[in-house]
């Protein structure tokens, strides 16, 4: 199976970040003003929701009711943020988002490491140690990248029950590893396949085996692709909602699920400011990853948009 994603894995997409090379630049003209106008309008459209959430989270409830949605708060307060983090309630539990945050950290950290390790070995084996039917297995795996989760979720619940691990940390890590595997394996396979074969041959002649070549030669070379993979998994797993609701269980409920619970629960008045502060807090980790990683992120999403 040939896969569309081939077109955009690192290397090729690196060019996005190089200088522009479209048609020659013309002088300031009406057309150019139009271009800037369109881009600025678009930028406003993209920024608006975030702006609204920031300013609303800093307002008091009366100001939200009476003031304008887009205005900067007259008297900014961090009270909603503190409440969202420490004491927002779902039912009788009033511990805020904090436990969800740490659950998400735990799930994301473990699942990222596990899924990337598996995928790196897969990619390496598929590039250099291809056994009979390896490509068939790989083809099926890549098909899996496109399968709607709902198709396999019920059998997975049954399997987890039979293994006795349903709603444990292990089960959610496993699920993330399974559904992260197609795209990550593809990523690594394409990377390793692009490496010069001579290097591998030389190592073979020196008598190095499967694991020696993997650990001593391949891993150090795969650092860039691993960074892409880490970004992909960090944001993907952090943002997951469906698997979190089904497989994580009460003890490991991730932040997105807890956020949804907090927002959908109202006891008396709807605390929009707290809800929006909670939303920004939940978005903070992937956003920080995004802004720190910069160009790496572009590569990551181009390769991993399949996960969406």
């Amino acid at each position: 199976m040939t896969l569309v994603v081939n077109n955009v894995v690192p290397g090729a997409s690196g060019r996005v970040l190089e200088g522009p090379c479209g048609p020659r630049k013309s002088q300031l003209s009406i057309a150019r003003l139009g271009i800037y106008g369109f881009l600025i309008m678009a930028a406003l459209f993209f920024l608006m929701p975030f702006w609204v959430m920031i300013v609303t989270s800093l307002k008091t409830l009366p100001e939200i009711r009476e003031g304008n949605l887009f205005n900067w708060p007259s008297d900014p307060t961090f009270e909603p943020w503190i409440k969202a983090w420490f004491s927002a309630c779902t039912g009788r539990d009033c511990n805020g988002l904090q436990p969800g945050f740490w659950n998400s950290v735990k799930i994301t950290a473990i699942a990222t490491v596990v899924s990337i390790t598996i995928a790196a070995i897969n990619g390496y084996a598929l590039s250099f140690w291809r056994y009979r039917y390896a490509n068939l297995v790989f083809g099926i795996l890549v098909f899996g990248a496109f399968v709607p989760y709902q198709v396999v979720i019920y059998p997975l619940i049954i399997t987890m029950r039979e293994l006795g691990i349903f709603s444990t940390l292990l089960s959610i890590v496993l699920v993330h590893s399974i559904f992260g595997m197609p795209i990550l394996t593809l990523l690594y396979r394409n990377f390793f396949a692009s490496l010069p074969m001579e290097m591998f041959k030389a190592a073979r002649i020196d008598g190095a085996g499967f694991w020696q070549i993997f650990f001593r030669i391949m891993i150090p070379m795969a650092v860039p692709i691993t960074i892409v993979a880490i970004i992909l998994q960090l944001t993907g797993i952090w943002n997951d909602f469906l698997f979190g609701t089904v497989f994580a269980g009460r003890q490991n409920m991730p932040m997105t699920v807890q956020l949804n619970n907090i927002v959908q629960t109202t006891t008396g008045v709807r605390e929009y400011n707290v809800h929006m502060a909670a939303t920004i807090l939940t978005a903070a980790v992937p956003l920080i990853v995004y802004f720190i990683s910069g160009k790496w992120f572009v590569r990551g999403i181009a390769a991993g948009a399949v996960k969406g």
């Binding site: 009788r92 987890m160 029950r161 349903f166 709603s167 609701t245 959908q264 109202t266 006891t267 008396g268």
Partner: protein
């Protein structure tokens, strides 16, 4: 009184046995997240923590269907909670059949549940194969409308006593800047209101013919037709903000006199009470809503999924026993706005609205079983979906809706 002494003896006995048992953490899944419901569930949790060595571990999930989904998923996955809230329904039949639920028969016989739980029908739904698998904790009726007295005064119209009255006075409310009909866009609120409208037109005989006997002549008859028309005509009197609004946010519109009337089950009373409003002065509760009111007897039940740990099992039984004790029943139901399942509870603390409800329940001819008892969740869901479609899509004609209504009744199991 006899029951009370018996119960006291029971507790004394169980406290002694429990002293030797280890304290267990019991996770309870429920969807009681509004203000009044929170106050009610706190009664359970506090009493449980105080009376037994065990701990109540609270898992509140907003929205009944979300909470039930979670429970079912977890039972399916082999990680069941120790107790889970359901509505009176046939939703847990298969769980009982598969042996996934703790058998409460022994406790029920010891405490004599059959003697004091009324009406009998609400314990019947807990029975499967001669054994009791769930515990009803309250009786709720959907057939109530809650009206803001100041809102109707402002519009200069009289309080409605039935739905036709209400439709007639709705334009006046609208002119006075009041949203006549408050409803939230959540599916169950819309379909619930539809069921109420349907019962108000059908009466007891029609209701039983339709749901129990699946009488297709009734389904295709003039009462159902007028119910569909009434229901559709309510839509024009709602406000913009209705999408996604929780039921308690919607009730809050009536509490703050921004809206005229809401059709919602008797649990809404808890919200009014919590807001410090007085029935008859600030708000009116209209049973039916009709001069000839019938109340259905739905309610909440708790299931106790089977656990492997005998300590947890003992704690589950202790929880069941506590939930049904007379004092807890009184304070829980008072906070919740529901009626106790025991007939021997002192309800002198009941307010006027609750008394109206109690009086109607006294008259057997006015008590309807819950529709949930005659249809599976699947069949009920199809009916609900039809109501939602009728609500959302004004171009759907009354004839089409009724034709599909008949089809569903004919096919449902």
């Amino acid at each position: 009184m006899k029951q009370t002494t018996k119960w006291a003896a029971m507790t004394a006995a169980s406290v002694i046995t429990m002293a030797s048992a280890k304290a267990a953490d019991l996770e309870v899944i429920h969807w009681w997240t509004s203000g009044g419901e929170q106050a009610a569930v706190t009664v359970f949790a506090d009493e449980f923590d105080a009376r037994t060595p065990h701990n109540w571990v609270d898992t509140a999930i907003a929205g009944g269907s979300n909470a039930r989904s979670t429970t079912l998923q977890r039972i399916l996955g082999g990680d069941p909670p120790a107790a889970a809230q359901f509505n009176i329904s046939r939703q847990y039949e298969e769980l009982a059949e598969a042996g996934m639920l703790l058998d409460l028969t022994e406790l029920a016989e010891q405490e004599g549940w059959r003697d004091f739980i009324r009406p009998d029908s609400i314990l019947d739904v807990c029975e499967y194969d001669g054994k009791i698998y769930c515990l009803p904790v309250n009786i709720h009726s959907w057939q109530w409308a809650w009206a803001s007295i100041p809102a109707f005064e402002k519009a200069g119209v009289a309080l409605p006593t039935n739905l036709d009255d209400f439709i007639a006075s709705a334009p006046a409310l609208q002119e006075a800047g009041i949203t006549p009909f408050a409803i939230g866009g959540e599916g169950w609120q819309i379909s619930g209101a539809a069921r109420v409208v349907l019962v108000s037109q059908l009466g007891k005989d029609g209701f039983e013919a339709l749901y129990r006997d699946r009488d297709l002549d009734v389904a295709g008859g003039p009462e159902v037709r007028s119910a569909i028309e009434l229901f559709k005509s309510l839509k024009q009197y709602t406000d913009d903000g209705s999408a996604n609004r929780n039921w308690n946010d919607t009730t809050n519109l009536v509490i703050t006199h921004q809206a005229g009337m809401q059709i919602m089950g008797d649990w809404a009373r808890g919200e009014f009470a919590l807001a410090g409003l007085e029935p008859g002065i600030d708000y009116a509760c209209i049973a039916g809503p009709s001069e000839d009111p019938y109340l259905d007897t739905g309610g909440d039940v708790f299931l106790f999924p089977k656990q492997s740990d005998p300590d947890v099992e003992a704690a589950q039984l202790a929880l069941a026993s506590m939930m049904l004790s007379p004092e807890v029943q009184a304070s829980f139901n008072n906070a919740k706005g529901s009626l106790p399942v025991r007939d021997d509870v002192d309800m002198s603390i009941a307010d006027d609205c609750m008394k109206v409800g109690l009086d109607i329940l006294e008259d057997r001819n006015r008590v309807l079983p819950s529709a949930n008892m005659f249809f599976t969740e699947d069949g009920l869901g199809q009916l609900d979906d039809l109501w939602l479609e009728a609500w959302a899509n004004p171009s759907l004609s009354t004839e089409d809706i009724q034709r599909r209504f008949v089809d569903i009744i004919a096919q449902a199991d």
